[in-house]
């Protein structure tokens, strides 16, 4: 099979799985998950084959795998869609395939496959556990299987299809198709337990918030298509086209390329949950944990960053190397600001998944900031390492929650929140695999020097920011990095170290192999993936292994980015903030016994700077008020229907006026009745001469004869 054919086929198995499960196998849990995991495995194998073949191609950047077909007729030409795997695509495909497969596998265990159906479980709510009686007659409460198990795999399949479509697309339109399909899936999966009002509202919030970005992106796509006549990446990224775009002014003092890039970037702000559209992502934790991993690591949020990396030549088309363009400044600002802003919130969160959610927002901010200052290889590198360790952390937190739920079922005290870190503690002994892998993931997130992947990628961003003189970005990101290390250690300390704080934590249990295997695999990459991108000039280690990532992904664009000179300041900074944050986090939180002792529970941070409340007050409520009162009640019902209804009385008024003033008095009375009356009156008068006497008649005839004769004589003859 040619590589191109294979690339076309990669997205299809999960889509097929979606349809098969929805239409046919949804009654059988075993069949459904076999199809789901099998489809993910097929796509995985296909992706790996493509990846390996891509590695074997010299100058893949100039001659990538590509193939396209006619899709939409547009006047005299066709809009073509197709697939493209260039170095960037291959690198992204690699991590997407691995994380997706791991998440599928993990979901089997997470949804308690093999456990009995729950006693009171209903569709649309999380399972509550089942009572079983063992051979001694003792009753135990054990986890129960998810009632909508098959549906979960169907949705996950569709989600995977969306992501694969996005990655292999050679044009912006099918990228957008994949992008939106993921939007739908995140809606369906965040609202998977739709019976919970909180989950239902979170789903709508996620869809609507990202849609704000999407409509701007759609406008950007329309603009780009109008200006260049194509949406295919490799046709846009030609010298002439980019130059033409960069030299045509658009609105607001920006060039066309800058303006389009900004519109497209707003789409990313929504999808990658950047300030000010970040509000949906923490609420997205309402979904089952594999979904959180799917959305926050492997697919959706990565898609946002991926799109900007893809459109990087457009973003920098009018960049001359001196002073960032308007669009790049906006991108860099939003990224750096979000990185810091979200990190501060994460410090005050107690829900294990919410901490990770804010850390995701913050880390995505790093990538966006890197793109804003032109460091696209660093951004891509961090995108991939982050995908590995964040998927690991989410799945790890899911494992922790699962273990805690076990404890909750054991004690039967359902008031204990299994996601609150202050209910945990000491889990390292109960859940060793989860602990060690989580530790690796956490250290990678914090950027623990040298051994973790997160260190290398984060260091590269900091080095780029410093090396190119973007000091504000550098300082902001460094402070954020410190906070990241701090809250990560806080999380690890509260969850795993010390002694159990609750009875439930004492009875937590390690999760089954389907859940721990993905953790181990992802932990492997969370460490080793950093080694493929060690800078050449790094002291001691540099040059031992080639900086493969830089060479490979850097060759995506015709212009090969230069490796920056080594400078000890960013390196020492990144070691300092990571180490310092970790140590301080441990020192402080190992002594914190309960939430009341936590000095960082600052209301402003805990309430996420009140963004939800502000948006609700400023946008959501006014929008509904406007729709209901202004558009519907005032305009439609009041003004427009008012005018229409006025026609009724008007017509009726005219009608009755015609009747009362014309018909009745004039026509009926005056003309109709009047003529009769006049006749009657004449009749009455004339009756006087109708006496019946012949003499009188003769007399009358004589008089008439004389009068007429006289008249004739007088007028005619004379």
């Amino acid at each position: 099979m040619t590589t191109e054919t294979l690339i076309w086929l990669i997205p299809l198995p999960p889509l097929l799985a979606f349809f098969l499960i929805v239409l046919f196998t949804n009654k059988s849990k075993a069949l459904s998950h076999t199809i789901g995991v099998g489809a993910a495995a097929l796509s995985f194998i296909g992706s790996m084959v493509v990846f390996v073949r891509a590695l074997g191609v010299e100058h893949l950047g100039e001659s990538p795998f590509e193939s396209a077909v006619n899709w939409l007729p547009t006047g005299d030409t066709w809009f073509r869609i197709g697939v493209l795997i260039d170095p960037l695509g291959a690198a992204v495909l690699f991590f997407v395939a691995i994380t997706i497969l791991m998440i599928f596998l993990y979901s089997v265990g997470y949804h308690n496959y093999g456990q009995p159906a729950g006693d009171h479980d209903v569709k649309g709510l999380p399972p509550h556990g089942a009572t079983i009686t063992d051979e001694h007659g003792h009753k135990h409460v054990v986890p129960s299987v998810e009632p909508m198990y098959s549906r979960f795999f169907a949705f996950l399949g569709l989600f995977a299809f969306g992501m694969y479509t996005l990655v292999v697309s050679d044009n912006l339109l099918t990228l957008f198709v994949g992008w939106e399909i993921m939007g739908l899936c995140s809606y369906l999966l965040i609202g998977f337990w739709y019976g919970k009002p909180s989950a239902r509202d979170a789903a709508v919030k996620a869809f609507m918030t990202t849609r704000i970005g999407d409509v701007f992106m759609l406008l950007g796509i329309a603009f780009l298509y109008s200006a260049t006549g194509t949406l295919t990446f490799r046709e846009i990224f030609t010298e002439e086209t980019l130059h033409a775009l960069a030299s045509t002014p658009a609105w607001f003092g920006m060039t066309t390329s800058g303006f389009i890039a900004l519109l497209l970037f707003i789409g990313t702000v929504g999808k990658s949950a950047q300030w000010p559209l970040h509000v949906w992502l923490p609420d997205a934790m309402e979904g089952p944990t594999p979904v959180s991993a799917m959305i926050h690591a492997a697919t959706m949020v990565s898609a946002g960053v991926y799109a900007v990396i893809r459109m990087f030549p457009l973003l920098t088309a009018d960049y001359t190397g001196h002073g960032l363009t308007v669009t790049m400044s906006i991108v860099a600002f939003i990224g750096a600001f979000t990185a810091l802003f979200a990190a501060t919130i994460a410090v005050a969160q107690n829900d294990i998944k919410r901490v990770l959610a804010y850390s995701t927002i913050s880390q995505l901010g790093y990538m966006i900031a890197a793109l804003g200052i032109g460091a696209y290889v660093a951004a891509a590198f961090h995108l991939i390492t982050h995908a590995f360790f964040k998927a690991l952390l989410f799945l790890g937190s899911g494992s922790v929650i699962h273990g805690m739920e076990h404890g909750v079922l054991h004690t039967g005290n359902h008031h204990v929140d299994p996601q609150d870190m202050y209910n945990m503690g000491g889990l390292r002994k109960k859940m060793p695999i989860t602990f060690w892998t989580f530790l690796i993931g956490g250290f990678a997130l914090a950027g623990f020097p040298l051994v973790t992947a997160g260190f290398w990628s984060k260091d590269e961003i900091l080095a780029d920011a410093f090396g190119h003189g973007h000091l504000a970005v550098f300082v902001t990101l460094a402070i954020a990095a410190f906070l990241t290390a701090f809250y990560t250690m806080r999380q690890i300390t509260l969850t795993f170290l010390g002694e159990p704080r609750t009875e439930e934590a004492k009875h937590a249990q390690e999760t089954p192999w389907t859940m721990t295997t993905p953790l181990i695999v992802l932990a492997f990459f969370a460490v080793t993936y950093g080694w493929v991108g060690i800078p050449e000039h790094f002291p001691l280690l540099g040059g031992l292994v080639p900086n493969w990532f830089h060479e490979f992904v850097g060759s995506t664009l015709a212009e090969h980015p230069e490796a920056i000179e080594f400078n000890p300041i960013p390196l020492l900074t990144s070691i300092g903030v990571a180490g310092g944050g970790l140590i301080l986090g441990w020192l402080y939180y190992r002594n914190v016994k309960s939430v009341s002792e936590d000095k960082f529970q600052i209301p402003l941070l805990k309430n996420k700077y009140y963004f939800d409340e502000a948006y609700n007050f400023l946008f959501v409520k006014p929008a509904y008020w406007f729709a209901e009162n202004i558009v519907y009640k005032f305009l439609d019902k009041g003004v427009i229907d008012g005018i229409l209804h006025a026609f009724g009385p008007f017509t009726q008024g005219t009608g009755s006026a015609l009747r009362n003033y014309i018909d009745l008095p004039v026509i009926n009375r005056a003309i109709g009745d009047g003529s009769a009356e006049i006749t009657y009156w004449f009749g009455g008068k004339l009756r006087a001469i109708q006496t019946g006497r012949v003499q009188q008649y003769l007399m009358l005839a004589l008089v008439t004869f004389i009068v007429i004769g006289a008249a004739l004589y007088f007028f005619v003859l004379a």
């Binding site: 899709w71 007729p73 006047g75 739908l184």
Partner: protein, 512 residues
């Protein structure tokens, strides 16, 4: 067979009417017979229009399958029929939706004979508009369609049906008065009503008429046409008949209303307004685009404000049809450019797509209404576990309506946005602003669709529908069969639109 081959259009056109006449002689109480007879009778035109579709040659410009019969020789009007890519797609939509709507009406047991007869007459009325190549014939069929629909709403509608049917009838007829006058004018002027002849001469006509300059006359006649069609589309602010009529009509009536009748207005714009008044259309395109954007935005907000499920769907038609007119306005601005072609491709495909998704949505509202006898969103809620299959279908169709990529609505909306924005970038900057404002409508399309799903399917289950006599039953096989063709087409057009878009595109390139 030979007769049908040479009289394909007239056979498709009059078969339903003839079948309706035959139905008059069926016994009154055989409800089942009425339904099956009407279904069978409506399937014949569908099959024939498939024959039409496959024998149609998109590459050949102009009208095909033309037929001409003397009708009213004294005033130069004849029964002239013909189709091109534009009307062909509408004919197919009509003959497809009619059997589906009749199948959807199988739950009706009240005076089925009259009901089905009206439906078949309605089909002939609608098809006549799409096939007519004679202005007078166009107008006759245009008005003929109103009568059955009036009775369907008035006799089989829900509580407020008298008001709604009256509003529908008077509003649409009132809107057409100017059209009738303008058509008469053209007939008197050219001694014929033949569309092709008039199109050729009227667009370039400059001599004063009765002492009034042709340009003034044309401008007035242009608005006479536009208002008639704008009421039907409906364009803001002529839209308020629609929520009432759609909401009160019986389910199948709403399906046809939204699915086909609204397209008559948009079709009028494309077949008559743009070709007959290219200058005026260009001159007034800004106003048209403004009203279209108002329809898109206010339609979305209007829908978002509803608490009645059916009304919510009804308002969504205002929102979606706004995109059709936006595309038409953009094309009027920049006729002959690639941007215009793309915009019109989008507009026409949007007509077809909206026909599928709106008919589907109204049917699904009907399914739930038949079981619960309420359309109030506050009284529903959390029904997903009770009706999982229905829920899946509802989400699918809602997503088509929302314009989710991968389904049909996205393709057409994207093309309209692309075309309109392209006109904005390449010729008339104000179109870019209109398109950008329309995005607000697109955003709120999401809001009202999600509101519908949230209030019906999601959230805590309303226990009222879970037990006892109120227990909600799952969508049945007949109802699924109604939805399947719609869903297949929605997905098919979403994934591979070229099969229909190519036919539309070739016609658009020739016409505009």
């Amino acid at each position: 067979m030979n007769f049908i081959a040479t009289h394909l259009l007239s056979t498709i056109l009059f078969f339903p009417a003839v079948a309706a006449l035959v139905m008059l002689f069926l016994p009154k109480d055989e409800t089942k017979l009425h339904k099956w007879f009407a279904l069978g009778a409506s399937l014949v035109p569908f099959v024939l229009s498939l024959v039409l579709w496959f024998n149609f040659d998109p590459a050949q410009p102009g009208y095909q399958f033309e037929e001409m019969y003397t009708w009213y020789a004294a005033i130069g009007s004849s029964l002239h029929l013909g189709v091109d890519g534009l009307s062909l797609s509408m004919v197919l939509l009509t003959t497809l939706l009619t059997p589906i709507a009749i199948l959807a009406s199988f739950s009706i047991n009240d005076r089925t004979k009259a009901y089905m007869i009206l439906f078949l007459f309605l089909e002939t009325g609608m098809l006549g508009v799409f096939m007519a190549l004679d202005l007078l014939i166009f107008f006759v069929f245009w008005e003929v369609g109103l009568v059955p629909m009036y009775f369907l709403i008035n006799q089989w509608g829900s509580a407020n049906r008298n008001y709604a049917s009256m509003k529908f009838m008077i509003y649409t007829m009132g809107g057409s008065l100017g059209l009738l006058l303008a058509v008469q004018l053209l007939g008197v002027l050219f001694k014929t009503y033949d569309l092709q002849v008039i199109t050729e001469q009227w667009a370039t006509y400059t001599a004063p008429i009765g002492g009034i300059p042709a340009s003034t006359f044309k401008a007035v006649a242009f608005w006479a046409f536009v208002i008639a069609f704008a009421v039907k589309v409906p364009l803001w602010p002529f839209h308020t008949w629609l929520p009432d009529a759609h909401t009160e009509a019986p389910t199948a009536g709403s399906m046809i209303l939204a699915g086909v009748l609204l397209k008559l207005g948009a079709y009028g714009f494309l077949r008559l307004v743009l070709p007959l008044y290219p200058e005026e259309a260009k001159y007034f395109a800004g106003a048209l685009a403004f009203l279209a954007v108002a329809a898109i935005v206010f339609g979305a907000f209007g829908s978002y404000a509803q608490t009645d499920f059916k009304r919510l769907v009804a308002y969504s038609s205002v929102n979606h049809m706004g995109f059709v007119v936006l595309g038409i306005a953009a094309a009027a601005y920049a006729a002959g450019t690639a941007d215009a072609h793309i915009a019109l491709n989008g507009a026409i495909l949007q007509m077809f797509n909206h026909g599928l998704s709106a008919a589907g949505m109204f049917f699904l509202v009907g399914v739930i209404y038949e079981r619960t006898h309420t359309r109030n969103l506050e009284e529903l809620g959390g029904l997903f576990p009770l009706v999982p299959v229905y829920g899946g279908i509802l989400i699918f169709t809602s997503m088509a309506s929302l314009g989710l990529p991968g389904l049909n609505g996205f393709i057409s909306e994207f093309l309209v946005v692309r075309g309109a924005f392209g006109v904005g970038v390449n010729s008339v900057p104000v179109m870019a602003i209109y398109t950008a404002v329309a995005m607000l409508g697109l955003l709120f399309t999401g809001a009202y669709i999600l509101k519908g799903i949230k209030k019906v399917l999601h959230g805590p289950m309303n226990e009222h529908w879970a037990h006892g006599e109120h227990k909600l039953t799952e969508i049945n096989a007949r109802e699924v069969i109604v939805m399947v063709p719609l869903m297949v087409l929605i997905l098919w057009i979403g994934l591979y639109p070229a099969w229909i878009l190519d036919v539309i595109n070739k016609a658009v390139v020739v016409l505009f």
